[in-house]
Amino acid sequence: MAHAPVAHPEAHGAHHAEQSFWSKYVFSTDHKMIAMQYMFTGMFMALVGGFMAYAFRMQNGFPGMEVPGYGLVSPNEYNALVTNHGTIMIFWVAMPVLVAAFGNYLIPLMLGCDDMVFPRINRLSYQIFLLSAVVILASLFVQGGGFGGAWTAYPPLSAKAEYNLTGLGSTMWLVAVALEFVAFLLGGINFVTTAMNSRAPGMKMYDIPIVVWMIVVASILFMASVGQLIAGAVMLFMDQNVGTAFFDPDRGGDPILWQHLFWFFGHPEVYVVLLPAIGIVAEIITVFSRKKLFAYKTVLYTVVATGVLSFTVWAHHQFVAGIDPRMANIFTITTLLISVPIAEMMFVYIATLYGGSITLTTPMLWALGFIATFLLGGVTGIFLGASGSDIYLHDTYFVLAHFHYTFFPIAIIGTYAGVTYWYPKMFGRMLNETLGKIHFWGTFISFNCIFIPLFYTGMAGDHRRIWSYQLFPELLDLQDVRAFASIATVVMLAFQPIFIFNFFWSLRRGAVAGDNPWKANTLEWQAPSPPPHGNFAELPQVYRGPYEYSHPDRKEDYWPQNAPA
C-alpha cells in the first residue's frame, strides 16, 4: 500500500459544507449520529421501563398502596405494567443500545473505515425503530389499556379480545414488536456487510476486536431466528383482527405452535443481546488490565458454538407446557450443555486478569461487575434447565431472579460499561470518576438487594405476574421480603440520576479527553475525540491484532493496531 485513501477527496467536497440542524441531527446518515439516536431513544425507553418496574414493584411490595407518582395499581394495570416492562426492556432498551448503538458507533471506527456500507438503509432502520417505539408507547394509552398478556403473549389470551380485554392494545403491541424486528433486520444488513467487507487494509480476521465479532454474530443469530416469530406474529395478528384460528383450539388451531415459534426466536434472542455486552466487557478488561485477551481464538469458537447451540434449547421454556414429556429430556441435555461454552467464556475473561496491571476505573468496575453478576445468572439457569427441578421452579420468582441476573448485567451493566468507556471518544470529554464510582456501587449493591430476596421468594412459592399474594395463605409470610426488594428497587432507581447528571454535565464541563485517554490499541482511539464526519483524516493501515498490551519488546505497555512496526 503506497498510501492510505483519504476520506474526503475533492469530489465530495460540496456536501460537507454547513449542515442544517435537520440534516446533521435528525436525518443524518452518519453512523455515529445514528448510533446516538438509538442510544438516546434506548435510554429514554429505559426510563419508561424503569418507571413501570417502580410502579409494579410498589404494588408487589406494598399491596393496595397508592403508589406515589402513579396511583392505585389495579390487576389489569399490573399485568400491563409487567408485560410492557419486559417487552420494552428487551426490544427497546437492550437491543437498540447494545446492538444498534454500539454496533453503529464502533464497527466503522474499529474497522478503520469512514461509515457503514449502506448509510441510507441505516437511517431508514432507525426511522422504523423510532416508529415502533411510538407505537408501543401509544399502545399504553388506547381504550382498554396496554396489552397485559406478558411479553411472551401466549394465545389464546393474546389472540382474542374477549379474553384479554385489551383488543386495541394487544394489536398495537404486536405491530410495534413486528416493526422493531423489521428495523433490526435492516440494521443487521449494515453490520454484517460492513464487518465482512470494509476492514482496513492489513486487518485480518483475527485482528478484528472481539466486540465487532460479537455484534456481527449477534446480528446473524437475530436474522436466523426472528423470521419464525415474524411468521408467528403475522398469524397472531390475523387471529386477533381477521378471525383466523391459527392458535384457536376450538377451531382446529394450536396454541402451542405459538410457543414454539416464540421460543425458537426467544432463546437465541437472549444471546443476541448477551454477545455485544460480553464483547464490551472484553474490550474493557483488556485495556484496564493491560493484558492481551486470553485465547482470542477460543473466545471466537466458543461464541460461534454458543450461537449454534442456542437454536437447540428453546423448549426448556415449555417443560410443563403440555409438550410431549419425552422431548423434555432432550432439551435438558442441550440446555445444560450450553452452559459449558458460556462457562468457558467467563473463565477466559477471568484468566485475562491474571498477571495484569489492573486499574479500577469506572468502566472497569462495571465490566468486573458484569462478570460477578452474570456468573450468578448463569449458574441459576441450571436449576431451570434441569427438567426435574423446573417442575417446581417454572413460573416462580426464581425464574425472574435468574433472568434479571442475566439481563440486568447485559442491558444495564453492559451499557454503563460501554458508555463510561467510550464516552471520551463520543464526546471528547471525560466523565467524572467520583460520580461514576458512586453510581456504580449504589446501583450494584441495590441491584443485588432486589433480586437475591426474589430467589428466596421464588423458592418459597411466589409465582410470577401476580398482582397480590393476599389470597394465598402459604405466601403471606413473604410480604416483608417483597417489601425489602421493592425498597431496594426505589434505591436503585434513585441512584440513576447521578449518571444522568454526570453524562450531561461532563458534556460541557468534563476534562478534555484527547484522542486516547485510556491508552488503548483499537482503531477508534486513533481517531480524534469526537471523530469528525469520515472518522479518520487518513484511513488507517493495520499491522497487528487489537490486544497487544504489555508486549515484552515494547517500552510502552500498549501498541495501537495502526502503529507501524
Binding site: H15, C113, G188, M223, V226, G232, L257
Partner: protein, 193 residues
C-alpha cells in the same frame, strides 16, 4: 444527500464479495427464515389434521401450475437481463427486466381471479385453518412479488439510461428467491391432496 456521496466503506471488499450482493443474500436469508417458519407451521398442522386434505382438494392445480410456469419464465428473463447488464447493454437489460415484471403482474392478476373464485365458493380465510394458511402464505408471497415488481421498475428505469447496472443482478437474485418460495408453496398448497 447525493447518491454519489458513498462512503469509502462501500468500495472495499475484504471478503471478496461485492457488498450489494452480500446485502441481498442477507435479505434473502432473513426471508427464508420467515417463510420457513410459516411453512413449517403449515406442514406440522397439515400432518396433525387429516381433515385439511378435504379443504386442500378445492385448490386449482392447473392455475397453480400455470402460475408456476409464469414465474419460471419470468426468472429466465431476469437471467437474460443480467447477461445483458454484464455486457454493459443497459437498454437491453431494461427490456428483459420489463418482461420479468410482466410475468409478476400476470402472476398477481391470475391469483386475483383465482382467489375471487375461491372466495365466491365460500373458501375464505376464516373458513378453516387450511385456508388461513393458504391465504396467509400465498398472500405474503404475493406481497413479495408486488414489491419485487416495483423495485424492478425502478432498476429498469435506471438501467435504460445505463445507470446502476450491477443492480440488475441483485434484483435477479431476489426474484429467483421469490420463485423458489413459490416452488415450495405450489406442491404444499396445490399438489398435496
Amino acid at each position: 444527500m447525493s447518491a454519489a456521496a458513498r462512503p469509502i466503506a462501500n468500495t472495499r471488499s475484504a471478503a471478496g464479495l461485492p457488498t450489494g450482493r452480500l446485502a441481498v443474500w442477507w435479505v434473502i436469508a432473513s426471508e427464508v427464515v420467515i417463510f420457513g417458519g410459516l411453512l413449517a407451521s403449515y406442514i406440522m398442522g397439515r400432518l396433525a389434521h387429516d381433515v385439511w386434505a378435504d379443504q386442500a382438494a378445492h385448490t386449482n392445480m392447473w392455475i397453480g401450475a400455470f402460475n408456476t410456469w409464469v414465474l419460471l419464465t419470468s426468472s429466465l428473463f431476469a437471467v437474460l437481463g443480467h447477461k445483458a447488464a454484464e455486457a454493459g447493454d443497459g437498454p437491453k437489460a431494461a427490456r428483459f427486466i420489463g418482461l420479468t415484471m410482466l410475468g409478476g403482474v400476470i402472476f398477481v392478476i391470475v391469483k386475483a381471479f383465482e382467489w375471487t373464485g375461491e372466495i365466491r365458493h365460500g373458501f375464505t380465510i376464516t373458513s378453516s385453518t387450511f385456508w388461513s394458511f393458504y391465504y396467509t402464505a400465498a398472500g405474503l408471497h404475493a406481497l413479495h412479488v408486488i414489491a419485487g415488481v416495483v423495485i424492478m421498475g425502478i432498476i429498469a428505469n435506471d438501467a435504460r439510461k445505463n445507470l446502476e447496472l450491477h443492480r440488475v443482478e441483485l434484483i435477479g437474485i431476489y426474484w429467483h428467491f421469490v420463485d423458489i418460495v413459490w416452488i415450495f408453496l405450489f406442491p404444499l398448497l396445490y399438489i398435496a391432496k
